[in-house]
């Protein structure tokens, strides 16, 4: 998309240079001229040009001074400096102060100047396209932002009403339901809600700034266990926290990681296991924390181990299919905070995840 013609402003105190320039280039470009930096600035208020060419040696202000003055208010046009003198200081000055694209010696070579102008315009054009793309992306991001926010509420709100109705129907015994359909409705609604919450988690992880604060792993793990215990009261939880020193990390992401991993450990238990258990161990060191989550559940098929962190991957060898997003969120959250994860699993025997998270203590800068 090459819109109209390239617009050039040429500033030079020698009129015959301006005329010569116009004579050679007016068929190719839209040319504006000024005899002083002052006049040039006046003109720039009216006309948006793509390229500015200025002579260095002019009375009152030099080309470099002029470029330096306008670079904040007009950063976009490409700047070309013309001069008859080959003064190294001028060149250095021009490049450092005036953000000059190119430096051309007088008298100019017409072919060279053509080439320089076209190159300059190409950069101008590319930069503008880039800017437009960035604006577009920011807008899309912002819309996504608002979309997720309203989705979280608009989808959840009617779901919570459904759960409320189910609760009420149990409370007043008004529904005769010998086949347990209401329970089925409830379990579907809970599953859907779980998925909505996962999407919100994913989104918050990708958008939120990382924030470091003190973390007490004992209380963090206890919160998790309190939340998951009701899902399977048979499970015995063992925790072992070795935290002699402070740990600083991103609370939101670390609890997302723990919640997802503990939730899996609770969910994928063998139905006939006599002593289902979940072992949680944390070891805090000055530079990192190592957390292991071990269960004696159904385990993961070895051929699936490479895929479990992929988005929407679901292992087919279990009767409790998940949303396929939990471990993906774990991996994404870990990459945000610079952590790593390892998994070992034996199908039919259990799974152990081990994660390490950097300790962002004060001395770690």
């Amino acid at each position: 998309m090459k819109e109209s013609r390239i617009r050039i402003l040429y500033i030079d105190d020698e009129i015959h240079n301006l005329n010569a320039f116009k004579a050679s280039f007016r068929r190719s470009y839209e040319i504006y001229t000024a005899t002083s930096a002052q006049e040039g600035k006046q003109l720039l208020k009216e006309i948006m040009v793509h390229i500015i060419i200025a002579d260095q040696k002019m009375p009152v202000s030099t080309g470099v001074e002029f470029f330096n003055e306008i670079k904040d208010t007009l950063p976009d046009p490409m700047r070309i400096l013309l001069t008859g003198y080959t003064d190294v200081d001028d060149i250095i000055d021009a490049i450092n102060k005036g953000h000059i694209f190119s430096y051309i010696k007088k008298p100019w070579d017409e072919h060279e100047l053509h080439k320089t102008i076209n190159n300059a315009y190409e950069i101008y054009h590319t930069r503008r396209q880039l800017k437009e793309k960035i604006t577009e992306l920011e807008k899309t991001n912002d819309e996504l932002n608002r979309f997720i926010y309203s989705t979280s509420h608009d989808l959840r709100s009617p779901l919570m009403s459904v759960l409320g109705i189910i609760n009420l129907s149990r409370l007043d015994n008004s529904v005769v339901d010998p086949n347990g359909y209401v329970d089925m409705v409830e379990s579907c609604v809970l599953k859907l809600d779980d998925f909505i919450q996962k999407i919100i988690e994913y989104y918050r992880n990708s958008r939120l700034e990382v924030e470091y604060e003190k973390i007490d792993f004992n209380s963090l793990l206890n919160d998790c266990i309190t939340a998951f215990k009701p899902q399977n009261t048979q499970i015995r939880f063992h925790t072992q926290v070795e935290q002699m020193i402070d740990f600083r990390g991103d609370t939101f992401r670390i609890s997302v990681i723990l919640n997802n991993l503990i939730s899996n450990a609770v969910k994928y238990q063998k139905p006939d296991e006599a002593e289902p258990m979940v072992n949680l161990a944390v070891k805090v060191e000055p530079h990192k924390a190592t957390i292991s989550i071990r269960d004696n559940g159904i385990g993961i098929l070895s051929e699936h181990l490479n895929n479990i962190f992929k988005m929407f991957f679901r292992s087919k060898n279990n009767n409790k299919p998940g949303s396929g997003i939990g471990l993906y969120i774990v991996k994404e959250a870990l990459s945000k905070i610079g952590g790593t994860i390892n998994v070992e699993s034996k199908y039919g025997e259990g799974t152990q995840f081990e994660i390490t998270i950097p300790n962002r203590n004060e001395f770690d800068t």
């Binding site: 926010y149 979280s152 509420h153 959840r156 709100s157 779901l159 919570m160 009403s161 759960l163 409320g164 109705i165 609760n167 009420l168 409370l171 007043d172 919450q197 919100i200 918050r204």
Partner: protein, 139 residues
């Protein structure tokens, strides 16, 4: 829960099903005999301001939704904050929402007018405990 005979509950929620649900829960559990429902926070404010002239304002629990069109829960709180102490001291506000938005939750917890934020679906146990907590000093 019959210890406060003239306790009334005001429900403010744009979702009519939730209003009905909460009303039924409160009557079933006999938390209060008087339940007033408003689908619009503005109407609730109007009602409360009409109460100012009453010689005695009955103890009131307000269950307030966060996300509502026109006037949301936070706007309601801001407007209600300007009401005379006579009525404010009798009204105990519980926010009820399905929001998981971190901003909503922290804003609610930071508001001095709000006793507690309860999640939807509203569980009778949570509601009872919260209401009992409010009035334990009055008994």
């Amino acid at each position: 829960m019959n210890s406060i005979p003239d306790l009334r509950v005001i429900l403010i929620d744009d979702n009519e099903i939730d209003l009905l649900l909460h009303e039924r829960l409160i009557t079933l559990q006999q938390i209060s005999r008087t339940v007033l429902s408003f689908v619009n926070a503005n109407k609730a404010l109007e009602f409360l301001s009409s109460n100012i002239s009453l010689p005695r304002i009955p103890p009131t629990v307000i269950l307030l939704d966060i996300q509502m069109p026109e006037m949301d829960g936070f706007e309601f709180l801001q407007a209600f904050d300007a009401y005379p102490a006579k009525i404010k001291s009798q009204c105990h506000i519980i926010m009820v929402s399905s929001s998981l938005d971190y901003g909503d939750i922290t804003r609610t917890n930071a508001n001095p007018l709000v006793i507690k934020l309860l999640r939807k679906p509203l569980l009778i146990k949570d509601l009872k405990e919260t209401v009992e907590g409010i009035f334990k000093d009055f008994l």
